[in-house]
């Protein structure tokens, strides 16, 4: 079903809207959450919460494209739950992703406020616009979608070792880019 028709179902407050949304994008939404959260119950709850948010937000919103909107909601919910759960725990795929993200930040820089996060996000976007499409794909899949390195290796026809090296070099490039922009505390 086309996105426009799914949105129409939301506007009509038809329960079929959620069914169609789940049928079309459910696997991608679940995967976005599952890449971040280790617990299956947490993933299920996160997906259900994401659908509830979409139900509450449409209308009046009519997001286009729909997939980015719902995946972003799922990601934000998963990240929030991840950090709420992580006080005592260590390890897992997303923990590694976070460690790698920290490597990109020049030493001496701290992200302490929502404003800092927004500014950094804009700087990362500017950096992404300078990359070749295949490098940008790799970066976004790893640090937004949180795909495991082994999976990226399969998708991109490379070995996990090569993907790790490419990601390392991309992180270094981002770090240089942030320093060049004068991104300092």
């Amino acid at each position: 079903m086309e996105d426009g028709k799914i949105i129409s179902l939301f506007f009509e407050r038809s329960e079929q809207a959620i069914e169609e949304l789940n049928r079309k994008y459910g696997a991608a939404v679940k995967k976005t959450a599952a890449n971040i959260l280790d617990d299956r119950l947490d993933v299920e709850e996160c997906v259900n919460d994401a659908y509830l948010r979409v139900w509450n937000n449409i209308p009046p919103h009519a997001p286009d494209p729909l997939v980015g909107y719902v995946c972003r909601i799922a990601r934000n919910l998963a990240v929030n739950r991840y950090h709420a759960n992580r006080a005592e725990k260590r390890g897992g795929n997303y923990a590694l992703v976070l460690e790698e993200m920290e490597e990109c930040i020049p030493s001496g820089v701290n992200i302490e406020t929502e404003y800092d996060a927004k500014e950094l996000g804009a700087a990362i976007s500017r950096f992404l616009s300078t990359l070749k499409p295949e490098d940008r794909f790799l970066f976004v899949r790893r640090y937004w979608y949180a795909d495991p390195v082994a999976e990226l290796a399969v998708v991109t026809n490379g070995s996990a070792n090569r993907i790790s090296v490419r990601l390392f070099r991309l992180r270094e490039k981002l770090k240089r880019s942030l320093m060049k922009e004068g991104f300092l505390a």
Binding site: M1, E2, D3, R23, K24, Y25, G26, A27, A28, K30, K31, P65, V67, G68, C71, R75, N76, V79, N80, H83, L98, M101, E102, I105, N110, I111, E112, T113, E114, D116, A117, K118, L120, G121, I124, S125, L128, P133, E134, R136, F137, V140, Y143, W144, Y145, P148, A150, E151, A153, V154, V155, T156, N157, S159, R162, R166, R169, E172, K175, R176
Partner: protein
């Protein structure tokens, strides 16, 4: 560092980049308007298409056709083996009975990795299908029996009529050498695993395999001194080792051995030289007789050996003709020219 805010920062990137990288996951219904980033091409060759390919290549008498021969022809064409003179590309006699369901098709050594193309069967269409939901399976691996060494593999094509799955396997050359030393023989037994779940897998093989020779052209560039305008630094470009699917630039700069040894611990010191290394790999061009130019486009990794920093990269789409190099240039400087 506030990790939660860091997560949010990375989550705040522009929507267009998120959508560009979106991949529909198996289990999602797809619409015609859906965009899919073509990072991996999936090919399904039917018997009829393969036969047409054989005829198009001028083979008029075709008695003993098989999926193995058809796939070998397809690989040879896709990788541009003949037109680029890849003498190191090896094709195997695929008419023998499969060894544990495994048939060797072809192989090529790119200098760092031994690439091996194989057919495995019988594999059902369900088993060969792409990952579903959030699970990463099936995943493929190639291993050397009796050792801890191996590499990864991935799906190249599937033929449902013969239930034959073609895989592209990547075994690091270093691993092959270590395995051969450990087993006391160059002919090592390799097998392929198709991992379909946490605790479920199927093995195909083993079959004897000997590492293939590397086709290499070594260019001595005589310590050409290049001044990089972007970093305002000088670098000696010592040489280039060129293979049909990979290349190593060899360079030398002030303090290179020490900088390479501590490049992860002392990033600040290494950073400008890393920029310089990347610029050489991207800006240096290999020029062929038809005027076309080729750049290895950056390096996947670097290491220090024999008095020089080695910058390595490889490519998959098709081979280059290393015998047809006419010039090697960087900026306005000619590093090497055919006589």
């Amino acid at each position: 560092m506030n990790r939660e805010l860091l997560s949010k920062a990375f989550g705040n990137i522009e929507e267009s980049f998120v959508l560009e990288a979106y991949r529909p996951v198996s289990g999602d219904a797809r619409s015609a308007s859906e965009r899919i980033v073509p990072m991996k091409k999936k090919r399904i060759v039917t018997l009829a298409l393969a036969a047409a390919l054989i005829l198009a290549l001028g083979i008029t008498a075709y008695a003993a056709w098989s999926i193995h021969a058809a796939r070998q022809q397809e690989l040879r064409a896709e990788l541009k083996i003949d037109e680029n003179n890849v003498s190191s590309y090896v094709e195997y006699d695929a008419s023998d009975e499969p060894a544990g369901g495994l048939v060797l098709l072809s192989a090529v050594n790119d200098g760092q990795t031994q690439r091996i193309y194989v057919n495995i069967s019988p594999v059902s269409e369900e088993e060969a299908s792409d990952p579903k939901g959030s699970e990463p399976f099936p995943v493929y691996a190639v291993s050397i029996e009796g050792t801890e060494f191996g590499g990864n593999a991935q799906k190249y094509a599937y033929d449902k009529d013969t239930q034959t799955l073609t895989l592209e396997c990547f075994l690091p050359v270093d691993n092959m050498k270590k395995a051969a030393a450990e087993l006391g023989t160059d002919a090592v037994p390799i097998f392929v695993q198709m991992i379909t779940g946490i605790d479920t897998s199927r093995s195909f093989g083993p079959i004897s395999f000997t590492m293939t020779g590397q086709q290499l052209r070594v260019f001595d560039l005589g310590n050409a001194l290049y001044h990089d305008p972007e970093t305002d630094k000088d670098i000696e470009i010592v040489g280039l080792d060129l293979a049909p699917f990979g290349a190593v630039w060899k360079v030398h700069y002030e303090g290179d051995a020490a900088l390479q040894a501590r490049k992860f611990e002392d990033w600040q010191a290494y950073k400008p030289w890393c920029d310089l290394e990347e610029n050489v790999c991207k800006e240096a061009k290999i020029v062929f007789s038809d005027g076309s130019e080729f750049s290895i486009g950056g390096s996947q990794y670097s290491y220090y050996e024999d008095g020089a920093v080695h910058l390595w990269n490889s490519w998959k789409l098709s081979a280059i003709n290393i015998d047809d190099v006419q010039r090697i240039v960087i900026g306005d400087m000619i590093l090497w020219e055919a006589k």
